[in-house]
């Protein structure tokens, strides 16, 4: 092959490749970075058909995945769903843009507590559409506890040595702080964080494994490795029950944290039309009952949820129980203190 030939064939190949790489001209598209289940085919397929917007979802394993993915360069995702402890970082870092709530039909039906949450409001503008919520409850294997556990202290009990698991997350600090009686868990001072750290180091001999993903905790229960742990209420317990192991969730007397996820619009997205169509679908019956059915989470819009849920499901998800919702310590952004919390948690894991 002569040089000329080589040159010609590579040019032809490059041309062919550039044709393949050109996006197909659909009516529209929306690319989302979200949790598994939040764009489930059971309700997104119909949306795609009706709106003509193609939905492409990429999944995250934790709230820590949003910032690095967006910091690495924009133009890939249109919508994200960080939890209420992460939303403020997205706003402060300039990753997201304000939302025109007049274009969200169901806006006023969403719980007021969520709509006005500090994490999604900034300088008089709204940056998030609340979607789903729940508790970081605790969970135990019914056959292993003759007496039902009621306190966080039950995870520090010698009797369950080697059968305890905790979420591998800064929330472990929240758990230990409450056990220490430091209840203002999102504003702990250095001394309180240090005490929580010592408490967690003290617990290490009892811990079988810190769980990192939802599926891992399910596996740990299924393999008989773990009897008691914290959990994303509603989600893992139902997966474990499917495997024939009876577990029960409980809110300890030291209380539980609450989480809430919101849809946020990535700054300068070219797919704004489809993004708003998608937000409207998600905050109405299709999306609200969709996430409740797929993930077992509570819905942020109780009005829409009531229309599509059975009374039993509505009740089980605490949709009509403001006391339950208010009792949860709703996650807050730790801002500059985040470092102190994560360093303490890393120190726990590094300790011998």
């Amino acid at each position: 092959m002569t040089f000329n030939n080589l040159y010609r064939s590579t040019t032809a190949m490059a041309l062919a490749l550039s044709c393949v790489a050109t996006p197909a001209l659909a009516e529209g598209e929306v690319n989302i970075l979200t949790w598994e289940g939040y764009a489930d085919q059971s309700f997104v397929a119909q949306f795609e058909q009706e709106s003509g917007c193609k939905v492409t979802a990429t999944y995250v394993g934790s709230n820590d995945d949003f910032a690095p993915k967006l910091a690495a360069g924009g133009g890939v995702y249109d919508l994200i769903t960080p939890s209420i402890d992460t939303t403020k970082t997205m706003i402060a870092a300039g990753f997201v843009e304000p939302i025109d709530t007049s274009k969200i039909t169901e806006w006023n039906n969403i719980y007021e507590k969520f709509r006005t949450a500090e994490g999604i409001n900034h300088d008089g503008e709204v940056y998030g559409v609340p979607y789903a919520w729940g508790a970081i409850a605790f969970m135990y294997r019914v056959d292993k506890f003759p007496e039902a556990p009621t306190s966080i202290a039950d995870l520090w009990d010698e009797k369950v040595k080697g059968k305890v698991s905790l979420w591998d997350d800064k929330s472990a600090i929240y758990v230990a702080a409450r056990l220490n009686g430091d209840n203002d868990i999102y504003n702990l001072n250095d001394e309180q964080i240090e005490r929580a750290k010592q408490k967690l180091i003290e617990q290490k001999p009892l811990v079988r494994k810190y769980w990192a993903t939802a599926g891992e905790l399910v596996d740990l229960y299924a393999a008989g490795e773990v009897w008691i742990s914290n959990t994303w209420a509603g989600y893992q317990s139902s997966l474990i029950m499917e495997k024939g192991i009876e577990v029960k969730e409980f809110i300890p007397k030291e209380n539980a944290e609450g989480w809430m996820d919101s849809w946020m619009v990535v700054k300068d997205t070219p797919n704004l039309d489809c993004a708003y169509k998608f937000l409207n679908m998600q905050s109405d019956q299709a999306g609200q009952c969709g996430v409740a059915n797929v993930n077992g989470y509570s819905a942020a819009n109780p009005v829409a949820a009531k229309k599509c849920m059975t009374p039993e499901q509505y009740d089980a998800l605490h949709q009509d129980d403001p006391d339950y919702l208010n009792s949860l310590l709703l996650w807050e952004n730790l801002e500059a203190r985040l470092e102190a919390y994560t360093n303490a948690w890393n120190a726990v894991k590094s300790a011998n």
Binding site: P68, K204, R208, K209, G224, N343, N352
Partner: protein, 286 residues
């Protein structure tokens, strides 16, 4: 002629471009980040040594570095203890070339299976309701399953040893195969017993392979973050996991970068050291 020269320079430049684009530039970026400053919500450009200072002051970092080094050494030694006799057996005891090839491939073949899958399998072997426990309970040695096999440093060493054994067998096998048989025969003729021959002739001549294998196993373990995640317990965190957490959960890329640079220096130091040992131990057979 000029076309030939152009083609030649393209061929020669490719590895250089590759090294610059995929090694030097990324390392340089990490190195630059390591002087930046963490500032809510992310981090800002700066030139200061605070990140490196934090690595020195906070005991968690050297604790985790020591732990990682300990596990890497244990993995390298246990891989050597298994791989050396195996390679020795293949080279000197197996007479059928076909059997030798089959056994050699049996060690290499797992490299084609996903690392994740191979690490995951060990969970089902070592777990509380796993293969070993079920067997021990069945034959009556244990009354109830024990949890000492999984989710601790032992299970990490077992898993990583298993995974990195091919990297140990390959260089040792090559080194042993290169030893001229007449040296071994001469040793025998001079009345040296089999063990004497092994320790005085074969072992010294195979040292380059041993060092290469040890370096592979040590460095690969030193940078591993999957084994702690899958089979490690509460005391299983290694340095790569801490870096992951600084890049993710803490959103502190500067500190993560500083730690990555420290890790890089340690690994390069080990490689340099092993290179020197290998050179000094090299015997001219010509």
């Amino acid at each position: 002629m000029t076309r030939d020269r152009a083609l030649r320079s393209v061929v020669l430049a490719t590895p250089l471009v590759w090294a610059v684009a995929f090694m030097f530039v990324p390392y340089l970026i990490i190195f630059t980040y390591s002087f930046w400053l963490k500032q809510y919500p992310t981090f800002v450009p700066a030139f200061q040594f605070g990140n490196y200072l934090q690595l020195l002051v906070d005991p968690q970092y050297y604790q985790v570095l020591l732990r990682t080094a300990k596990i890497a050494i244990l993995v390298a030694l246990s891989a050597l203890a298994i791989a050396y006799p195996f390679a020795y057996y293949l080279v000197f005891k197996v007479t059928s070339a076909r059997l030798r090839l089959t056994l050699y491939m049996a060690v290499i073949a797992p490299l084609w299976v996903s690392y994740l899958l191979r690490a995951y399998i060990w969970k089902t072997i070592l777990g509380s309701e796993g293969v070993i426990n079920s067997f021990l309970v069945w034959i009556g040695i244990l009354d109830t399953p024990t949890d000492i096999f999984l989710y601790n440093q032992f299970s990490m060493v077992v898993t990583l040893t298993y995974i990195f054994i091919p990297f140990m067998v390959m260089p040792i096998y090559t080194a042993l195969e290169k030893i001229p048989r007449n040296l071994i025969e001469a040793s025998k003729d001079l009345g040296v017993g089999p063990f004497g021959t092994l320790f005085k002739v074969i072992w010294p001549l195979s040292l380059p392979g041993v060092f290469a294998g040890m370096t592979f196993a040590f460095c690969l373990t030193f940078g591993d973050f999957v084994a702690p995640f899958l089979v490690g317990g509460p005391d299983g965190v290694m340095v790569a996991n801490v870096i992951t957490s600084q890049y993710g959960a803490a959103l502190n890329w500067p500190l993560g970068s500083a730690l990555a640079i420290v890790m890089l220096i340690i690994v390069l130091g080990i490689i340099e050291l092993s290179d020197r040992f290998e050179r000094s131990g090299r015997i001219n057979l010509a």
